[in-house]
Symmetry: C2
Subunit: 412 residues, 2 copies
């Protein structure tokens, strides 16, 4: 493979994305293609046709995941899987997830038109319901086949209208067979927009993703004393909101101490929430992220101490509950190295970074050597109709994917 | 009057309060006697009977205010008016307002049974809808007769079920005549529970109320940038909640600089209010109270500067809107002096203080020399079924009212 530095067909790839951009338009330049909706079915049908046109063996599994397998020389060898998801948020963009699936298709097309034989099979994947916008939680298709969720659990999840995941699969005729699930897989590689501003801000083209940051979610409840604003002297107050404000600043300041730590208070409820009543109770969430699991847990222990001290000084009660946590996923060196090698060969600018949000590659990393390629999203905007990745960056990202597939699947 | 130091009949007063406490019980030891409700009508009917038993000339005006006049020697002389309100919050207490009306009745009873002639008429008043719980804003009965609200405005106000104030008056048969309104009034004296903890905390019995604190209400809107918690580096964030937290602490800290200033942030809304999304917008209210109008307005100007500086440093937008304001009401020296004189004669402990909440005396102060007598509420609790004023304090408060009436109405 040293001799040939194959590139994707830029125009064809952009044309394919354009077709996708017309299916389930949101009305403001974005897409509204919720998982297992009519629009999702339309996209799936077209996608299946495209796979068949490339001579791939198409399978649908019991979670509605779509696979197209291109045989390798080792007929029973493990696959190099590539892809992402075609579903979107209700006011989503045209690139999130979609780019990973359609670039994978372009890779298959290039391999086909160049008659390239690979040692291992190459398998394209469209995972069901990555967004979790219709059926929460997200990443049910990938988490289903990796065993992170049970089938019973997934089938029982209902959307806002009470329609179950299983029913929705049946309704659009994408309820396949469990024996079609992706197994015997060597690698999973997912090309994706960054959904953050780092590549854009630093003017780099390719993100060599090191892993997915671990996340801890907590709820903090501060209980003071509800009282009337008029008669209650300042020194008699147990104002839950003033105490909570001090805590919020501490939660923010700790990121100065620990490099790379991100903390967010996104949700806050004040009770009784009346202009002339001193708040007796405030509840807020903390989202803590860091790729180093130990540093993240250290940060939380520090915060617990600091928040308790504030509570003591402010004469309020404090309870902290863990709502959810997920450890950091580290991607496989073999995949990261292949991506870096591609970047070097093509002479693209690049950056090593961690993903903040979760992706299908997170679950896939549990069953195969996995990795991700990020391309810039302008201003870091995503989950938004204004989401934009430039054509040049799309082409370069797809070229990297093409290279990595050749490298990991093995070409003569 | 120097010779006689008349006292109220404690047992009779407590018995009268007990009757009131049985009309419109809330189920948890408090009262649910919303203005112009069936319970309010029942209380009014009994009250009117009591007035008639004392030989008073009973009038109902076009706002449903009930008056009972006891003639003075100067037949056309201006009245010394005493009273408050018999309506309650939906989960209200047994003393708020009620104490002022029923103590006034006890004063009349004492004057009657001692055959005391006064120079000026003494007039008992029950004002309609002081609480504002059914028909907002509060204090419609007093504000109506003083001209602070127009009749059209008051009649058009509707409750949550769409029933107008006028209709509600008609429904309970308390729509009287505008010519019955209280006019030609010399003084208004209102006995009331403190609705705050100061007397209770400082173990004083009588509050010599200096006036009603002015209040300013503002809404502060902080606009940052909504972004995902995962990918957005700390240094790229424009977190509206972190900026707002700094502002809240400033609003709280300014009370250390200005003695007697009270600031409250009671209401706060965070948007979009999602755990893993950096808040793009936060709106909160500020309630500022001080008896000195200039100091209050100075405090606000200082806060505007400080909040603007925080907004600038935090790279967020700031808008501050004035929602409502009311200047400080100062009570008449003649009334305050009479209250102090009574306290001294009886040897009660006392304290000069300002009222935080508004009262009917606020509007009455615009048309007559007015004042208020406060008695302690345990732990400052009010607008609550647990509201409690001790029998001893009720008796002492009523004794002070009795003295003040004799003093201001003039006894031989």
């Amino acid at each position: 493979m040293e001799k040939t530095l194959l590139k994707v067909n830029r125009e064809r790839l952009l044309e394919t994305i354009k077709v996708s951009s017309s299916i389930g338009p949101s009305g403001n330049g974005g897409l509204n293609r919720l998982a297992l909706s009519e629009a999702d079915k339309n996209m799936r049908d077209i996608f299946v046709d495209w796979l068949k046109e490339e001579g791939l063996e198409v399978r649908i599994d019991d979670f509605g995941n779509i696979y197209g397998k291109r045989k390798g020389k080792l007929e029973d060898g493990p696959s190099v899987a590539i892809g992402s998801h075609l579903d979107t948020q209700p006011c989503g963009g045209k690139y999130d997830g979609i780019l990973g699936v359609l670039s994978a298709l372009e890779v298959i097309r290039i391999l086909n038109e160049n008659d390239i034989e690979t040692e291992y099979p190459v398998e394209i994947v469209n995972f069901t319901n990555e967004e979790g916008a219709r059926f929460a939680p997200p990443m049910l298709g990938s988490g289903g086949i990796t065993g992170d969720f049970t089938k019973d659990y997934i089938y029982g999840i209902k959307d806002a209208e009470g329609i179950s995941f299983e029913q929705a699969l049946t309704d659009i005729d994408y309820l396949g067979d469990s024996k079609n699930r992706l197994t015997n897989v060597k690698n999973f590689i997912e090309l994706h927009i960054e959904q953050g501003p780092i590549l854009h801000d630093k003017e780099k083209t390719i993100g060599v993703v090191q892993g997915i940051q671990g996340i801890d979610w907590f709820t903090v409840k501060v209980t003071g004393k509800t009282n009337h604003a008029g008669p209650t002297p300042m020194e008699n107050r147990k104002d839950a909101l003033v105490a909570a404000s001090k805590m919020i600043l501490k939660v923010n300041e700790i990121t100065d101490e620990i490099k790379g730590l991100k903390t967010t208070i996104g949700k806050m409820d004040v009770r009784p929430n009346v202009t002339n009543v001193i708040p007796g109770e405030v509840e807020f969430t903390i989202d803590i992220r860091h790729e180093d699991n130990e540093l993240r847990s250290h940060a939380f222990e520090r915060l617990k101490e600091q928040l308790s001290a504030i509570a003591l000084m402010s004469e309020v009660e404090l309870t902290i509950t863990t709502d959810w946590n997920t450890e950091t996923t580290l991607f496989a060196p073999a995949v990261k190295d292949a991506i870096q090698e591609a970047v070097d060969k093509f002479g693209y600018s690049s950056l090593e970074l961690f993903s903040g949000p979760g992706h299908d590659a997170k679950y896939m990393a549990g069953v195969a050597d996995s990795g991700m390629i990020f391309v810039p999203s302008i201003d870091g905007i995503s989950h938004n109709e204004e989401e934009l990745t430039l054509d040049d960056d799309i082409e370069k990202g797809a070229n990297v994917l093409l290279y990595v597939v050749q490298k990991l699947a093995g070409t003569k």
